[in-house]
């Protein structure tokens, strides 16, 4: 039997009548980043919690490197680094002590632990804070330590549940860079996120889940090809000054514009033909209208596919 890095086999989780997960089957192997997408309450965190033995499945099995997490937890999680939700650390401990505790639990040899702690702290830009108490740190700083803890011991499989949550824009960008670097170092990263741009920037593959059901899994290009609305694309456009009704009507009449959605008086979403040449013509027409156009941003294919997948389910 082939051993996958991550394998969910008929995974179900029920809370009374509510099915949080319904027959999830997922097999992931190799060194890559897989984005786990879905709206709030879709079952992303529930799945990750089952893979870290924080909750038990109602039925089915979760394997890491071929080992059932719920039956042989220590063995299964031996080569796993996990960040689930936003953990808190004992406030009286320093960052070094907190990381040391996790490092020792993971069995990192003493002679390597000090070096490993400095390396991961440096990676998350928290090296200068190693001897400061965690209780005095901001939420973002704590989240960086949580990421550092997940990276301790050079794990093969890294499970991240919305890793940029609680971070400022700079922190988010740094975490994305860290994940991109990790991809080059023989890790499988399975990462849940709400942020489509984040997933399309970092990940190689994507799994989409909603109402506890796995709706799509494959490479980003495959999923986009399969689910992107045929011949249509959504473009976000912004203006320097508020639009009048007359001006909005003029936009609706541009050749190639299929639909106009008013976000507010400065921002619109227009559904247009996905042909790049036609999009270029629409942009020229918008400029010619002299409405003070400040932005013309076609959605990524993933965003379109995401909306398409979840529209089909809804």
């Amino acid at each position: 039997m082939q051993k996958y890095s991550i394998e969910a086999l008929n995974l179900n989780k029920r809370y009374g009548q509510f099915n949080a997960l319904s027959d999830i089957n997922l097999k992931i192997e190799g060194n890559k980043c897989v984005g786990f997408l879905g709206p709030n309450g879709a079952g992303k965190t529930t799945t990750l919690k089952i893979f870290t033995d924080m909750i038990k499945p109602s039925s089915g099995q979760a394997f890491i490197n071929g080992i059932d997490v719920n039956h042989e937890k220590k063995k299964a999680l031996k080569s796993v680094g996990a960040l689930i939700e936003t953990p808190e650390i004992y406030p009286s401990l320093t960052e070094r002590e907190a990381l040391s505790m996790i490092g020792q639990i993971k069995g990192i040899p003493k002679e390597k632990l000090t070096e490993n702690i400095i390396k991961v702290a440096d990676r998350v830009k928290m090296k200068e804070w190693l001897d400061k108490k965690v209780g005095k740190m901001s939420k973002g700083m704590k989240q960086r330590i949580n990421i550092a803890a997940a990276l301790l011991g050079d794990p093969d499989v890294i499970l991240l549940d919305e890793p940029t949550s609680g971070l400022d824009p700079r922190g988010m960008s740094e975490v994305r860079d860290i994940i991109k670097e990790l991809k080059k170092e023989n890790h499988l990263i399975f990462m849940s996120s709400h942020i489509l741009s984040e997933v399309s920037e970092i990940c190689d593959e994507v799994a989409m889940i909603n109402h506890g059901k796995l709706l799509a899994y494959g490479s980003i290009s495959d999923v986009v090809t399969k689910f992107q609305s045929k011949n249509k694309n959504i473009v976000s456009i912004s203006f320097a000054s508020p639009l009048t009704k007359l001006q909005t009507d003029k936009i609706k009449k541009i050749k190639g514009v299929i639909r106009v959605e008013i976000i507010d008086r400065l921002n619109l979403n227009i559904t247009v033909d996905s042909n790049p040449k036609k999009q270029s013509e629409i942009l020229s027409s918008l400029v010619k209208l002299k409405l003070g156009l400040t932005a013309f941003k076609p959605s990524s294919g993933l965003e379109d596919a995401y909306l398409s997948v979840f529209k089909e389910v809804a």
Binding site: K49, I55, E88, M101, K106, G107, A149
Partner: protein, 285 residues
């Protein structure tokens, strides 16, 4: 000893070693925490209060003999200090892992939940023993001053050992409630109400009025801590009519030493097994 080497770069320590790791880091957290300082201050304040009262009023019940001194001083206050220690260190030990989300930092690692539970239990018992040690030092210091002797009666050693057993059993009970609830406030309140009020009330109702030996109540077992300091040891039961004409009587039960040990040991085993079971089953959601 189970050492989990899976043929890779790191060797995950045995569950036994991981238990001590959790105990070590929980101890560091306790040592720097406000709760340890507050409890230490309370224990010292009780000691100072008793020192002042005995020094000023010189009550004969305290100063007639070394044993009566220990009986009055230790017997009246140590169980209160033990209950406070159990509640301070154990009340939120497990529920806090859920409510404060500290469990999310440790549980997702290659460690059994039982190692986390027992490690935290050991740290809580260790710090309660430290509080007990401080109060013992104040007690023995006062006794040495009043009786010009540093020797302590063997009954006090027995009482001290029973106090240690009471710490372990009360901590087991408090940890059980801490595992039962995800809210630290609820687990602490339930433990306090039970140990300070409900058990005493039940003991009175069952023993005094219903004439049934309250062998199933932890605080009844813990009375052996003060009973061993009485010379002679009190009778098993004393029944007194309420008045000369009344047919109704009240009973006072005095736990035997062996019974006290058994009750406390039983509570420790049952509550620890039940608490561990709850923690193993509880979900982080």
């Amino acid at each position: 000893m189970e050492n989990t080497n899976f043929g890779d770069k790191n060797i995950v320590p045995s569950s036994f070693m991981q238990t001590f790791l959790i105990a070590k880091y929980t101890s560091i957290d306790y040592l720097r925490s406000r709760k340890f300082l507050i409890l230490l201050i309370i224990a010292v304040l009780i000691g100072i209060l008793l020192t002042t009262i005995v020094g000023y009023f010189r009550p004969s019940s305290f100063l007639s003999s070394p044993l009566s001194f220990y009986s009055s001083w230790w017997g009246m206050s140590v169980t209160f200090i033990i209950i406070l220690s159990a509640v301070f260190f154990g009340g939120d030990a497990i529920s806090g892992e859920f409510q404060n989300k500290t469990g999310y930092f440790t549980v997702g690692n290659p460690i059994r939940r039982s190692s986390i539970y027992i490690g935290k239990f050991l740290a809580a018992v260790l710090f309660s023993l430290m509080i007990l040690l401080v109060f013992t030092a104040i007690t023995v210091g006062n006794a040495a001053y009043y009786f010009n002797s540093s020797s302590v009666p063997y009954q006090f050693i027995e009482s001290l050992l029973l106090s240690v057993l009471y710490i372990v059993s009360a901590m087991g009970l408090v940890f059980f409630f801490s595992s039962m609830f995800k809210s630290s406030t609820i687990s602490i309140i339930v433990a306090v109400i039970l140990l300070l009020f409900v058990f005493s009330l039940l003991q009175t109702l069952v023993g005094t009025l219903a004439h049934v030996q309250p062998w199933f109540i932890l605080t009844y077992g813990a009375q052996s801590i003060s009973n061993v300091l009485s010379n002679p040891y009190p009778p098993a039961v004393v029944s007194l009519p309420l008045s000369a004409r009344a047919s109704f009587s009240i009973s006072s039960y005095y736990v035997r030493l062996g019974e006290g040990v058994l009750i406390m040991f039983f509570y420790f085993i049952v509550t620890t097994v039940a608490g561990l079971f709850l923690f193993e089953k509880k979900e982080f959601n």
